[in-house]
C-alpha cells in the first residue's frame, strides 16, 4: 500500500496548487490535508476528530506551512520532533517566507528540509517534483519510522 503525504496548509489556493503540482509530477500518493496546526497534530497523534486512527499508518512525508491558524508551523514541528512516536517522520517546511530567522528556527527544531514556494508555478511544479522524487522515492526511511 502506498504511503500518504500529509499537507499542512491553510490557504485553499495553495492546497489546490500543491496537489496539482504533485499530480503533474505523477505523484499519486494519497494527500491528507490539515488546514491548521491543531488538525495536523490531531491527525498525527490520532486525537480529536481522528481518534481511533491507526497510528502505524503515518505519512511518508509531511509538507508543513509555517503560518497557520491556531498552532503555527514551528510549534507543530516542535511537537512532531519532540514526540518519540513521530520524531522520525520527515518534515519538509514548504512556505512563502525566506526570512533567515524562519529558516534557522525550522532547522533548529529538526526540519528535514526547507523549501520556499516560488511564485512562478512552473518552478513550483519543479520544486514539488524534486521533493516528491527525493522524499518518496530516493529517501530510505527507517522501516519502523511510524512506530518509533
Amino acid at each position: 500500500m502506498q504511503k500518504t503525504i500529509l499537507l499542512v496548509e491553510d490557504n485553499p489556493n495553495d492546497e489546490m496548487l500543491t496537489i496539482r503540482a504533485l499530480k503533474k509530477n505523477n505523484i499519486m500518493n494519497e494527500v491528507i490535508v490539515a488546514r491548521d496546526g491543531v488538525q495536523a497534530l490531531n491527525y498525527l497523534f490520532a486525537e480529536g476528530e481522528h481518534e481511533g486512527r491507526d497510528m502505524n499508518d503515518q505519512p511518508e512525508v509531511i509538507l508543513l506551512d509555517l503560518k497557520l491558524p491556531k498552532i503555527d508551523g514551528h510549534e507543530v514541528l516542535k511537537r512532531i520532533k519532540s514526540d518519540e512516536r513521530t520524531k522520525l517522520l520527515p518534515v519538509v517546511v514548504l512556505t512563502t517566507s525566506n526570512e533567515d530567522q524562519d529558516v534557522i528556527a525550522s532547522y533548529q527544531l529538526g526540519a528535514n528540509s526547507y523549501i520556499r514556494k516560488p511564485v512562478d508555478f512552473d518552478q513550483f511544479i519543479k520544486a514539488v517534483g524534486q521533493l516528491g522524487l527525493y522524499w518518496l522515492v530516493l529517501n530510505e526511511a527507517p522501516k519502523s519510522a511510524s512506530l518509533r
Binding site: N11, L17, T96, P118, V119, D120, F121
Partner: protein, 530 residues
C-alpha cells in the same frame, strides 16, 4: 594650543567696535605717557628738589616736551603690534584672528612694563639734563638718585591704574575669545594694589620729609621699614583671603575638568563675599545642567525604546509582506498556468496572451517584493565586519550568471586579490547588484565586456565594476540610486529599480560612498568604497 570654537553667537557679546577699541587704546597711551611726567615734575617741585622757575624753564625748552612726544609716538608704534590683532579680530572674528589676538594679549603685560620702565628711567635723566642746560639748576649726586626714585614711584603709582584700564580694554573682547588661562591673575592685581601702592606712597612721604627737613635719620629709615613691612604683610593677607575665595574656581581653571561628567561635590564656596556667592551660583548652574543632561538621557532612552518598538513593528510588517503578498501572487500565477494547461483548447491566441501577461506581471511583482524585502533587511541587519575576498566573491556571482544564461558571450576580467573589510553578506548583495547590472545592460552587445578591479584614490581603495553596455545619461546620475528610479524602460531592460538603492544603502552603512560614470552607448563604471 587650544582650538577655539569662536562662534558667531559669542562674537555678538562683544559690545566694542574696532574703532572704539582703537580710540580707547590711543587715549590710554597718551595718558600713560603724559600724566606721570606732569605729576612727577609737579611733585619734584612741590617737595623742593626743583623750584617753580626751574619747572617752567624745563617746560618752555624744546627738549623735555619733544622727549615726551617722541616717547609717546614710539610707545604708540610699539604697542600697535599688540593692539592690531585685537582690532583685526573685532573686524573679522574668525579662529585665526582669535588665536593671534589671544597670543598678543598674553604677551602684552610684560612688554608694557618693560617699555614703561625704560621710559621711567630715561625721563628723569632728560629732566635733569634739560634743567641743568636751560636753567640755573645744578644736580647733586644724591639728586640723581632721588629724582629717579621719585620718577619710578610716581610712574608706577600712575601706571598701575592705566595698566589695569588696558587690561579692561582687552576684557571687553575676552567674552568672545577662547580664554584658556587667565590673562592676569587676581592675586597679582591684589598684590600690586595692596602692597606696591602703599609701599610706594610710604617711600614718597619719606622723600617729602627728607627734602623738607633736609636730613634722613636712622629713625626715619626704621619708620619707613616698618610701614613697608606692614604694607607687604597686609597685602599678603589680602592675597590669602582672595586666594581662599577663589580656590574652588581656581581648581576648575587648573584642572580643566570634563563638564560632561562633572561632580559638583567638591565645588564649595570658601568665602562669604561675591566670589562665594558666584561659586555657589556656578555650582547650582552645573547641577541644573547635570539634571537636564540626565533628563535628556532619559528622553533619549525613551525615544530609543520607541524606535526599537517601531523597528520591531516594521520587521513584523515586512515579514508579513514577504509571506502574505506572495501567497495570492502564487495563486494568480498558478491558476493562470492551470488555465493554459487545462483549457488551452477553448482560448484563442489573445486569451493565451492575456494569461501570459498576467503571469509575467505576477512574477515582476514577486521580484519587487523580494527586492524591497532585501532593501529593508539591509537597513535592519547588524554589521558583522570581517575580511572579505571580493575577487572570489565576484567569481562566484559570475558563475551563477553564466549558469542561468550559458549562451551569452561575455568577457569578464576580475582582478586578483581584491579585498576589503566589510559585512560579507551585505557586500555580496552590492557585488551581485553591480555585476548583475553589468550583465544585464550588456545584453545587447555582440561582445560584452565586464571588468572588476580596484584603484586607489586619496589612499583609499576604490572598487569598480565596469561594462561596455548601454550606459546611462550622466544628467540623470542623481536619480540612479533612488528607490524605484529607473533610467531604462522595462521593455529595454527588466528590473525593479531597487537594486542600486539597496547597494547604496549598504555602502553608506559601511561609511563608504558609491557613484557611477557613464557615456550612453559606451558603458558604465560603478565605483564604491567601504
Amino acid at each position: 594650543m587650544c582650538h577655539s570654537a569662536v562662534t558667531p553667537e559669542l562674537v555678538l557679546l562683544t559690545k566694542m567696535s574696532p574703532a572704539e577699541f582703537n580710540k580707547s587704546y590711543i587715549r590710554l597711551i597718551i595718558i600713560a605717557w603724559i600724566v606721570p611726567a606732569m605729576f612727577g615734575l609737579s611733585f619734584l617741585t612741590y617737595i623742593g628738589i626743583l623750584n617753580i622757575d626751574q619747572l617752567i624753564g624745563i617746560m618752555m625748552t624744546p627738549m623735555e616736551p619733544a622727549f615726551i612726544v617722541i616717547w609717546m609716538v614710539f610707545a604708540y608704534w610699539y604697542f600697535k603690534r599688540y593692539i592690531q590683532p585685537v582690532v583685526s579680530y573685532l573686524q573679522q572674528p574668525d579662529e585665526i584672528n582669535g588665536e593671534a589676538a589671544l597670543t598678543c594679549m598674553y604677551r602684552f603685560p610684560l612688554h608694557f612694563w618693560l617699555v614703561f620702565l625704560l621710559y621711567l628711567v630715561s625721563a628723569p635723566t632728560s629732566v635733569i639734563l634739560s634743567a641743568e642746560y636751560f636753567t640755573d639748576y645744578v644736580a647733586q649726586p644724591i639728586d640723581w638718585f632721588r629724582i629717579h626714585l621719585v620718577a619710578l614711584i610716581v610712574s608706577i603709582i600712575v601706571g598701575l591704574p592705566i595698566f589695569f584700564r588696558m587690561l579692561d580694554l582687552f576684557g571687553n573682547v575676552a567674552s568672545s575669545l577662547n580664554l584658556s588661562r587667565p590673562h592676569i591673575t587676581i592675586k597679582t592685581k591684589v598684590f600690586m594694589i595692596g602692597a606696591l601702592v602703599p609701599l610706594l606712597i610710604d617711600t614718597m612721604i619719606v622723600q617729602y620729609y627728607w627734602t623738607r627737613t633736609g636730613y634722613f635719620t636712622f629713625e626715619t629709615f626704621i619708620v619707613w621699614l616698618v610701614l613697608e613691612v606692614l604694607a607687604i604683610a597686609g597685602s599678603l593677607i589680602f592675597v590669602q583671603s582672595f586666594t581662599q575665595s577663589l580656590s574652588p574656581l581656581q581648581d576648575l581653571v587648573n584642572e580643566k575638568p570634563d563638564f560632561r561628567q562633572f561632580s559638583t561635590v567638591n565645588l564649595r564656596p570658601r568665602s562669604t563675599d561675591e566670589i562665594g556667592v558666584l561659586t555657589l551660583s556656578f555650582r547650582r548652574a552645573l547641577d541644573e545642567l547635570q539634571q537636564h543632561r540626565d533628563n535628556l538621557e532619559e528622553l533619549v532612552d525613551e525615544r530609543t525604546k520607541e524606535l526599537q518598538r517601531l523597528n520591531d513593528e516594521l520587521e513584523a510588517f515586512s515579514y508579513s509582506v514577504s509571506h502574505d503578498l506572495r501567497t495570492p501572487l502564487r495563486a494568480i500565477d498558478g491558476f493562470s498556468q492551470a488555465i493554459v494547461e487545462d483549457y488551452a483548447g477553448r482560448l484563442d491566441e489573445t486569451g493565451l496572451d492575456y494569461l501570459s501577461r498576467i503571469r509575467g506581471a505576477s512574477q515582476t511583482m514577486a521580484e519587487l517584493i523580494d527586492d524591497m524585502l532585501q532593501l529593508s533587511r539591509v537597513t535592519r541587519s547588524e554589521l558583522n565586519k570581517e575580511s572579505v575576498d571580493l575577487s572570489s566573491l565576484a567569481d562566484k556571482i559570475i558563475e551563477n550568471y553564466r549558469l542561468v544564461e550559458p549562451d551569452r558571450n561575455v568577457k569578464i576580467i576580475v582582478d586578483k586579490g581584491l579585498a576589503c573589510v566589510a559585512d560579507k553578506n551585505l557586500v555580496m548583495i552590492v557585488m551581485n547588484n553591480l555585476i548583475g547590472n553589468a550583465w544585464k545592460y550588456t545584453g545587447n552587445e555582440d561582445v560584452a565586456e565586464i571588468s572588476i578591479g580596484k584603484k586607489t584614490a586619496d589612499g583609499q581603495d576604490v572598487f569598480f565594476v565596469k561594462d561596455n553596455g548601454a550606459g546611462f545619461d550622466m544628467r540623470f546620475k542623481n536619480k540612479l540610486f533612488g528607490v524605484f528610479q529607473r533610467l531604462h524602460t522595462a521593455e529595454e531592460f527588466s528590473g525593479t529599480g531597487v537594486g542600486l538603492a539597496t547597494a547604496q544603502r549598504i555602502v553608506h552603512r559601511h561609511g563608504g560612498t558609491i557613484w557611477a560614470e557613464s557615456v550612453v552607448g559606451e558603458g558604465a563604471t560603478f565605483y564604491f568604497t567601504v
